[in-house]
Amino acid sequence: MAEEQTASEKRPVVIQELEDVVIRFAGDSGDGMQLTGTQFTNTAAIVGNDISTLPDYPAEIRAPAGTLAGVSGFQVHMAQSHIWTPGDTPDVLIAMNPAALKASLPDLEPGASIIINTDAFTPANLAKAGYETNPLRDGSLKNFQVYEVPITTLNRNAVQDVEGLSPKQLDRSRNFFALGLVYWLYDRPLEPTMEWVKKKFAKRPEIIEANIRALQAGYNYGDTTRLFQTRYRIRPASLPPGTYRKVSGNEALAMGLVTAARKAGKPLFYGSYPITPASDILHALAPLRNYDVITFQAEDEIAAMGSVVGAAFGGAMAATGTSGPGIALKSEAINLAVMLELPMVIIDVQRGGPSTGLPTKTEQSDLLQVLFGRNGESPLPVLAPATPAECFDIALMAFRIAVRAMTPVIVLSDGYLGNSAQPWNIPDPDDIPPIEIKHPTEPNGNGVFLPYKRDPETLARPWAIPGAAGLEHRIGGLEKAPEYGNVSYSPHDHEQMVRERAEKIARLVEFIPELDVFGPEEGDLLVLGWGSTYGAIHAAVADAQNRDLPVAHAHLRYLNPFPRNLGDVLSRYKRVLVPEMNMGQLAMLLRSQYLCDVTPLNKVQGRPFKIIEISRKIDEMLSGAEK
């Protein structure tokens, strides 16, 4: 570190220990806020904090600079204890321009700290953000602890003599200045980020130079300025022992798919069409050709699904990933797969709908679509991971179910799970049991092959793949005769096949785990969720339990079929609260299937639940205060 810059004047700085802190980096989408937040998170993970992140970025790649539409934010929650969510409200906001301040302000509680890049608060930028007066001068920030830092100017001074970059390019390093300052504030090492910069820009030494200087200058600024009197320290969290890495839901799904294929001793075929927020699964799999991963970027969603059906017929572990609009297009081919009874995994990383909706914002509104959005009686299993790390296990389980029951399986993730990250206790691949698959080699019916002769236990049909002599057969989307699989329009054949397809999925209750309850086994209130609401619900319920409130949490990973004991669990509580990021889709299913009058709590703002939103509802229900 450059000594001469810090030597000016040593001053007393208080170091304060914190349990946890929530920091949000916000700026223009060109300001590199996702990168800054990711770097900060990586460092926090490496020093051992528990972490949870929430990236929030606009759908437009480069929305008009300086406007509210162009604000890109990255929120990270780090703690010395186990945490479940990216945090309800930022304790610290780093606002790189007026629009970023304006967009984030409604999320801040009084007393929060705001570090502001004052250089960006020009009349033009204020106008673009829709500010009539300068919030730095008009007293509107009086409830916050504001730190005014001329980041652009300070950064320019630090990097001005780096050669080979234009002034504009030099200015791009200012996010590293901000990052360096926050590193100082939270007493973090610079080395992990410096290493990353060196690797990332290996071919551009001038960019390495600028970014590292900016980073150090930010850090040194914290050290020398009189602005900050306190630094904060967050101890390492006591996570279960093991080797950890940071993982996002999309990364974990990709690794789960590859693992399933390896454990089945087969290639992975992933046919997909780019769509937000699922494309990162494709990006994670595409470089894995040496794992026998065949990624196929299809011409459209329909083709992606068709290719997966074809690959499954050919004996591959076949999967696709998409979002709600893609599921709509894929439904016809998914339905063909239901009829053909072939194994495959279909991932839906849900986003706000309907139609194109909110491409970069999260929602859980595809549950009914994946259950019922196909013509005819078309049952298939639906799974939903609760956390980013759990995406790994669910992807594996989805494939186990698919090959067991010879069925397409849907995995419902969402934009929040897909993009947010948490520490992952890395498993030992050798501890993961294999996926046993038996392709028949002999006819199963007196010398002839009956493609729809079912296994008496699972009702699965045999997975005979082309290349097996003597088992040639034709299957298709038309209704079939039981066992033989020949086209049949007979009323009885149709009813029998409809019932068998339904029964086959229903029997999976024997295979899936029962529903666990966190908290009292019976009592006044159960909070029942599914998918990415896990963190917020868990934290709210844990908090209520600490306040001696009689409330339990259960979280569904299996939405079709439901766990065998769900009805029993529901019956043991006087009331059941069902928070969902939709208008009550699970609630509707529970009511119709269990005649249980659950209380829905719905949020459709394109953002995850805050803990407080669930806490308030719990308190309200338990105090009888609700209307």
């Binding site: 993970a45 490496i46 051992g48 992990p192 390492p236 969290a237 006591s238 996570l239 279960p240 022992p241 093991g242 080797t243 950890y244 890495r245 940071k246 690794m255 390896r262 075929f269 894995l288 050709r289 040496n290 794992y291 026998d292 065949i294 299809a298 011409e299 329909i302 083709a303 699904m305 068709g306 290719s307 059906v309 074809g310 690959a311 499954a312 017929f313 050919g314 004996g315 591959a316 076949a318 016809e332 081919a333 063909l336 053909l340 206790n425 030992d428 691949p429 082309p466 290349g467 002599a469 003597g470 088992l471 040639e472 034709r474 299957i475 298709g476 989307g477 038309l478 020949n486 086209v487």
Partner: protein
């Protein structure tokens, strides 16, 4: 592998064929069942995939593996299947509605990717299975139930579409020309890459005689031109007409004192320009039949498998331990970390 002696009968399934009596599809099915034994491919390695329409019932009648899939999507299933299992001989059976209307997009992309499959397009210029609406290849003015005053849509030219979509093998034949069809199917099967074959097929019920001038024994000699690679392009009942190359393109001439066979243009299957020009021939010009275009290019599957092989050389065989532990990792010991 031992040599396999298969016969036509081996490829006949136990299902009753349900096309209308007199439908051109029967002849195509019969030819296919004759061609396959000649390929020397075990029948368990052959897969027929179809979409929806009269032609798409085809796989049920073949004693091979098969999928009767959904409307227009057969090329997508074939692509996935061929990528997953490169040893298979994969055939797509489709029609003018299936391939050029609802499935138009998939046809384009299977062709440009050069997926090593054979696509046989039964072109009867009508929707048969839905009982007689106009199709994307119906000539302008065709009167059908859905176009009582005649269609006002301009038809697509399947051969031009295949060429524009970068197909590497493009051919045309007619359902009644048994020997010719046989030869074209054989060549399509032996082409490595995407083979596109248009078969002019008669729908006796809803569009009878749509290809009369090319199929009728009395008319066809003057209206069909049989292309053969490296041979002069000659046609006519008495082989008395041919095509010459002029600065304005191909022109029809009569062979007489002025022009002899040596003056005629020769068919180059590797010339995209020539193929394109031939694809635009319309009545009363003769209809080009045979292999119109045939080039070799890396297939999609070869490309993918090449990358897999390269990746294994560069990075080594995939190892889950390495995959999980890529990037930054950290240790947590009992009671806290590090």
């Amino acid at each position: 592998m031992t040599t396999i002696q298969l016969t036509r009968k081996d490829f006949v399934s136990d299902q009753t064929v349900r096309w209308c009596p007199g439908c051109g599809d029967y002849a195509i099915l019969a030819q296919m069942q004759k061609v396959l034994p000649e390929l020397g491919i075990p029948k368990e390695n052959i897969v027929f995939i179809s979409g929806i329409g009269c032609s798409s019932r085809f796989p049920y009648y073949m004693n091979t593996y098969g999928i009767h899939s959904i409307h227009g999507r057969a090329p997508t299933l074939a692509t996935g299947l061929k990528l997953a299992n490169p040893d298979l001989s994969v055939w797509v059976i489709t029609g003018d509605g299936d391939a050029l209307s609802i499935g138009g997009n998939h046809l384009l992309h299977a062709a440009r990717r050069n997926v090593d499959i054979n696509l046989i397009l039964f072109n009867n210029r009508i929707y048969g299975l839905t009982k007689g609406q106009y199709s994307p290849t119906s000539p302008r003015g065709t009167r059908t139930k859905s176009s009582p005053m005649g269609t006002i849509e301009w038809p697509l030219n399947p051969i031009s579409i295949a060429l524009a979509a970068e197909a590497t093998f493009v051919a045309r034949t007619v359902d009644v020309l048994q020997k010719h069809m046989h030869d074209i199917f054989l060549q399509a099967a032996n082409h490595k890459g995407f083979s596109f074959v248009e078969v002019l097929q008669n729908c006796v019920i809803f569009n009878d005689g749509a290809w009369e001038q090319y199929a009728n024994r009395k008319l066809r000699d003057d209206n069909d031109i049989f292309l053969e690679p490296g041979k002069p392009m000659v046609f006519g009942r008495y082989s008395d007409k041919g095509l010459i190359q002029t600065p304005d393109g191909l022109e029809i001439v009569e062979l007489n004192d002025e022009y002899t066979i040596d003056d005629l243009a020769v068919h180059h299957v590797e010339s995209l320009e020539l193929a394109w020009e031939l694809s635009r021939f319309q009545y009363p010009k003769p209809l080009p039949l045979g292999v119109i275009y045939n080039v070799t290019r890396e297939t999609f599957g070869e490309g993918v498998r090449g990358q897999i092989a390269d990746a294994k050389v560069l990075k080594g065989e995939g190892d889950l331990y390495k995959l999980y532990n890529a990037g930054e990792t950290w240790q947590v010991k009992k009671n806290g970390r590090k």
